[in-house]
């Protein structure tokens, strides 16, 4: 198992080989409330670190999903588009958003580990 890292925009990212799986954190889902709509990037498209790579909407509002690293979208999770409530149920596992073929692994270095993220999330919500 490789280490999971976290962004300040509340995304998680898990790198396996050249491919990173990205989703939003449990903390993010708790802040958003019931997620009722998801939009994902197109397969084959390129995304840039910290750029928009999707949208999640709760009953209350829409929020952008950012990508913590640059790369090419190689897969997206249709299940969370068909049933967005799955994101609230299992955000950091089966409800991943998209997979990227990572352009530059060193972009991972600036991201937080679990301990730092938990601290960051706690501070940013208080």
């Amino acid at each position: 198992m490789s280490e999971v890292k976290y962004s300040k925009e509340h995304e998680w990212i898990k790198l396996e080989g050249d491919v990173a799986t990205i989703g939003i954190t449990k903390h993010a889902t708790e802040m958003l409330g019931d997620i009722v709509f998801t939009e994902l990037p197109e397969k084959g498209s390129s995304v840039e670190k910290d750029g928009t790579a999707g949208v999640v909407e709760s009953t209350k509002a829409a929020s952008d999903v950012y990508t913590p690293v640059s790369g090419e979208v190689v897969d997206t999770n249709q299940e969370i588009v068909d049933d967005p409530s799955k994101i609230n149920q299992d955000p950091e596992n089966s409800a991943w958003f998209f997979k990227l073929k990572v352009k530059d692994k060193s972009e991972m270095d600036s991201l937080m580990n679990k301990e730092d993220y938990d601290k960051f999330a706690k501070e940013s919500s208080s």
């Binding site: 019931d34 009722v36 709509f37 939009e39 009953t59 209350k60």
Partner: protein, 368 residues
């Protein structure tokens, strides 16, 4: 200005509500179960809403008060029976809406329920229009609690015998632990329900009794999705000073009798619009896909011409899809007219549809 709290604030807090500032009050937007569950529980069971931030304006007076109020509201108040309610609006001379409200005839006067954000200015406007002739009390000593949903009548009747006999849009005084409380059968969710006006000091114990009977606290988030599915207007969104009741498709609330005779504020504009039609009108809008079109979303016709704007849009949990209301040019207001909604730079197909989005199918016959 200091942020106000309702008498149920502690109860909301102990039920782990998430709070939001709304019209100067710290109000619960949702509880841990979340907006979707709260919405569904109200539709299937019974939800309690703290609406104590809304204004409860008592105006006391006799026959001349009825006449004076008729000069303000497009209602046939002379024939309104005691304890019966009417939906109406406070308008300016151009028939723009200052506020929408529910007016109930009570002994010695009227009770008017006003939107929280408008209540202070409504009071001033009304006091001026009535030339300070009547005793007017914007009662801060009373709370207002709504109970909505199919089980509400049974639950409330267990506490207050006889409320189940009230007909829709009527009310009466009842008593709770020797205190007078005023209950109307009304609401803002598209469900059967009641609104209870009672003293602040009784609000918490009364609400706890409702909870003991199986009702649950519901936040403003679900109140919004419920009212939107029911096709009901929210002031500041569907209604404001630049929109008239005719444009808001609320002409059902204007008394025909009164329009034939005139003599109320906004009459000339209203009668002109009723005769000649309007340029823009409020409609229901159903996106074809799952994309949610929020307030201020631009609406286009099939030739890509801008024809209007969304005023409220969300995901409707009972409809299980996105729902919206907005204003479009009258030529595009017919049901099933295809339109396009611009969301994040892309145009998404949608259709004009009838309101409400969600309609209760009541069981009328018992033996089926």
């Amino acid at each position: 200005m200091e942020i106000k709290k309702t008498s149920l604030y502690q109860l909301h807090q102990s039920n782990n509500a998430k709070f939001v500032e709304f019209a100067g009050y710290k109000m619960p937007i949702q509880y841990p179960e979340g907006i979707v569950e709260e919405h569904k529980f109200t539709r299937s069971h019974s939800g309690i809403f703290d609406v104590s931030h809304m204004g409860q304006l008592f105006i006391y007076g006799q026959d001349s008060l009825v006449e004076d109020l008729e000069k303000i509201f497009p209602l046939d108040l002379k024939n309104l029976k005691i304890n019966h309610s009417k939906y109406s609006f406070l308008m300016n001379d151009a028939a723009g809406i200052h506020d929408d409200l529910i007016l109930t005839k009570i002994e010695n006067g009227f009770l008017i329920i006003l939107n929280a954000a408008c209540k202070e200015s409504d009071y001033k406007i009304l006091n001026k229009l009535l030339h300070n002739k009547y005793k007017m009390v914007l009662d801060e000593k009373r709370s207002l609690i709504a109970i909505q949903g199919p089980k509400s009548s049974e639950i409330l009747n267990n506490l207050i015998k006889g409320v189940n006999k009230l007909s829709f849009m009527s009310g009466n005084w009842f008593s709770f632990q020797n205190q007078k409380i005023y209950i109307t059968r009304s609401g803002y969710t598209g469900e059967d329900g009641f609104e209870i006006s009672l003293l602040n000091e009784d609000a918490e114990k009364f609400t706890k009794k409702l909870i003991e009977q199986g009702a649950k606290l519901i936040g403003l988030g679900a109140r919004d999705t419920l009212r939107l599915e029911a096709g009901l207007c929210l002031y500041g969104h569907e209604l404001d000073k630049d929109k008239t009741p005719v444009e808001a498709n609320l002409k059902w609330a204007i008394s025909k009798e009164r329009v034939s005779k005139g003599n109320f504020i906004g009459f000339s504009k209203i009668s002109k619009q009723l005769a000649d039609g309007v340029k823009k009108i409020r409609v229901g809008i159903k996106p074809e896909g799952r994309v949610i079109a929020r307030e201020k979303t631009k609406i286009f016709n099939q030739s890509d011409v801008l024809i209007g704007e969304i005023t409220s849009g969300t995901f409707g949990p009972s409809v299980n899809g996105p729902v919206a209301m907005g204003y479009v040019e009258n030529d595009f207001s017919k049901k099933n007219t295809k339109i396009f909604l611009e969301v994040r730079g892309k145009k998404h197909p949608a259709n004009i549809c009838g309101l409400p989005f969600y309609k209760k199918s009541y069981v009328k016959g018992a033996n089926k």
